[in-house]
């Protein structure tokens, strides 16, 4: 091509013959339209319905639904459970990711597979596990009864079930991130005299902060929205062991759709906030997401 003369350049071949373009354009438009339609049907429409139904009878009804003692208790319980489960899984996730990314040990791949277990198991089964373990006829049932401790059909059971179904989130975000970042910075810090804790706090943590926030966000969204596992374990005792998702189901089954959607709108709002925060995080640190500092010559 570089050998063509100027004269040939004047009569240089035109870009792809015109007849081709409309077909390419059509395929593109179709695909975009399909994606938008899909988004509309499965995301926008449901959201619109939720908010529409919630406010169908006005603001007063909406507010009344939320401050109703049972609903309020459900909201409070959901928040409490999240406040326990998320920090627990944060610590676990960081510890697991640290172990997997920075050390070599036997059974490492088994650990990684185990971490993914809650995703493979149906949430109902996840809840059932705890019933089988801690229920009246479970392994620890007699012992718990003897000590007057309630796990199943009480808040501890709900917390346990929630922790189980949400524990992969932070770990799964951090493991590939930390593996990609390698051990060099940490080893350097050690060689400069830093203790393990100093290394973690000043070198590792800043490097993983966005992955961590991302994982916590996802973990929280799931913790607040979990239905199946919590449903099995909670016993549905109104005012005591009902989380928001469970309460929504009760309200809906009692033919109180407005109230149901009112509470549901809070969860929908949480979902939207999670989405926005997620995008904000991804925009904040595109170069940090899953990519280590470039090597010697960028």
């Amino acid at each position: 091509m570089s050998g063509t003369t100027a004269a040939a350049g004047a009569g240089a071949p035109q870009p792809a013959a015109p007849p081709r373009r409309p077909v390419r354009g059509a395929a593109r438009t179709l695909l975009i339209a399909a994606a938008l339609l899909y988004l509309f049907a499965f995301l926008i429409l449901p959201l619109a319905v939720v908010f529409g139904q919630a406010f169908a009878h006005g603001l007063a009804t909406y507010w009344a639904a939320l401050v109703d003692p049972m609903a309020f208790a459900a909201i409070r319980l959901t928040l409490t459970v999240a406040l326990i489960a998320v920090p627990l899984n944060l610590v676990f996730g960081v510890a697991a990711a640290w172990a997997v990314a920075k050390y070599e040990f036997r059974g490492k791949s088994a650990l990684v597979t185990l971490i993914d277990l809650p995703f493979a198991v149906s949430p109902v089964i996840s809840g059932l596990i705890y019933v089988l373990l801690f229920g009246a006829h479970g392994w620890f049932g007699p012992w718990l009864a003897a000590h007057d401790l309630k796990v199943v059909f009480a808040v501890p059971g709900i917390v346990l079930a929630t922790v189980f179904v949400t524990f992969p989130f932070v770990a799964r975000e951090l493991i590939p991130l930390m593996q990609a970042q390698g051990r060099d910075e940490e080893e350097t810090a050690l060689s400069l005299g830093a203790t393990g804790w100093q290394t973690f706090r000043r070198v590792t943590l800043p490097n993983i902060r966005f992955g961590l926030l991302y994982g916590v966000l996802l973990c929280n969204a799931r913790a607040m929205g979990e239905f199946g596992a919590v449903s099995v374990v909670s016993g549905h005792i109104r005012g005591l062991t009902n989380t928001m998702p469970l309460h929504i189901e009760i309200l809906y089954n009692e033919y109180n759709p407005t109230a149901a959607f009112a509470v549901a709108s809070l969860l929908a709002l949480l979902g939207l906030v999670t989405l926005v925060a997620r995008s904000a995080l991804e925009m904040q640190a595109p170069e940090l997401r899953r990519k280590p500092l470039p090597g010697p010559n960028p």
Binding site: G193, L293, P296
Partner: protein, 351 residues
């Protein structure tokens, strides 16, 4: 501070990384560990630093046993192959790190740290970069920051893992000379690992050649180059040609060249000869051959000669460009080859 290792062995699963390594480095020396990838040189360096523990063997720093000393307590500066700068910190914070993680009692005042870092920044000529992030620097600049960071603690030993690995040739040359000057000025003991023989030969006081977890030879750059003690060292350091030879009845025969006395049992052997030691002439006696390629490489000329008899790779001869001009060698010329000097070894087992 002197470094000594005795009987170091290390394996990773089935792979033997280090097989009974013993090494001494005197205070103030700049020693290069040279070898191909996988020879164990980086593993050895990491064991000395305390980032790996040997399966057996002992490590001594300044005569004191350091085998079980954790890396933080060894007071050894380590520079990684890809610098491992703390990506979230400024250059200033990177360099100050070693000083700021000290325990409160031992930590210098902020003003002292500032002046120390400023001193180091001017040493590595990066005063302007104090507030920059590593991402904003070039490879050579990052390297200098990594060095300054290691030097901040005034270590008596500096360990460098392929420090100039992926830099441009020009930058590489400048930096290694600069490192040598720095070493001479600050008198620390340096041990660096490299696969670049040029670097090792140019910068080091002594070179340790490693291969497959063992030390092949240790000596000054000159000794390693001129008097290699094994086929591997001879082939690895500098370029070389290899020719088959046979010893029979106390005489060594290399192709059609006149046999020379060579006491020893009858055997098939390999002759390793450097391109500078291959003499090429138009007139005999010698091993006849034909020139198949002529290359001018900077101030030198390389001539490939296909030797007669036997399916051998062309032998590469090297001499000054002046000689090329005088003799007017060209492709296709019939010439005679003689060997000025060579090493004699067992045939190459595909090292």
């Amino acid at each position: 501070m002197s470094i000594a290792v005795q009987g170091i062995k290390k394996r990773f699963g089935e792979f033997v990384a280090l097989d009974d390594i013993s090494l001494d480095v005197a205070t103030g020396q700049l020693v290069a560990i040279l070898g191909p990838s996988g020879c164990g040189k980086t593993t050895l360096l990491r064991i000395i630093a305390g980032l790996e523990t040997p399966d057996t063997g002992r490590v001594f720093l300044q005569g004191r046993e350091a085998t079980d000393l954790p890396v933080q307590k060894r007071r050894v500066g380590f520079v990684f192959q890809n610098y491992a700068l703390f990506r979230h910190m400024t250059v200033f914070d990177n360099i100050a790190f070693g000083l700021t993680v000290r325990r409160r009692r031992e930590r210098p005042a902020a003003a002292v740290i500032r002046s120390k870092v400023a001193e180091l920044l001017s040493l590595v000529q990066l005063e302007w970069a104090a507030e920059r992030r590593p991402l904003q620097l070039s490879g050579g600049q990052r390297q200098r920051v990594a060095l300054a960071r290691a030097l901040a603690l005034e270590p008596q030993v500096l360990l460098l893992d392929e420090p100039f690995g992926a830099l441009d040739t020009q930058v590489r040359q400048e930096l290694r000379r600069w490192l040598r000057r720095l070493h001479d000025a600050l008198h620390f003991t340096s041990l660096f690992v490299t696969h670049d023989q040029q670097e090792a030969l140019e910068v080091a006081d002594a070179v340790v050649v490693m291969h497959r977890g063992r030390i092949e030879q240790r000596g000054t750059p000159e000794e390693i180059y001129d008097r290699p003690t094994s086929g591997f060292v001879h082939r690895f350091v500098g370029s070389s040609n290899e020719l088959p030879a046979e010893r029979r009845d106390g005489a060594l025969a290399i192709g059609p060249l006149p046999p020379t006395p060579s006491p020893g049992p009858d055997a098939r052997l390999a002759v390793v000869v450097r391109p500078q030691d291959v003499a090429v002439g138009r007139a005999g006696p010698g091993w006849p051959g034909r020139i198949v390629a002529v290359r001018v490489v900077g101030p030198l000329a390389h001539v490939d000669v296909a030797l007669e008899g036997g399916q051998l790779d062309p032998v590469v001869a090297e001499f000054g460009r002046e000689q090329l001009r005088r003799e007017r060698f060209a492709v296709g010329d019939a010439v005679f080859v003689n060997l000025v000097r060579f090493g004699l070894y067992a045939p190459n087992e595909a090292a």
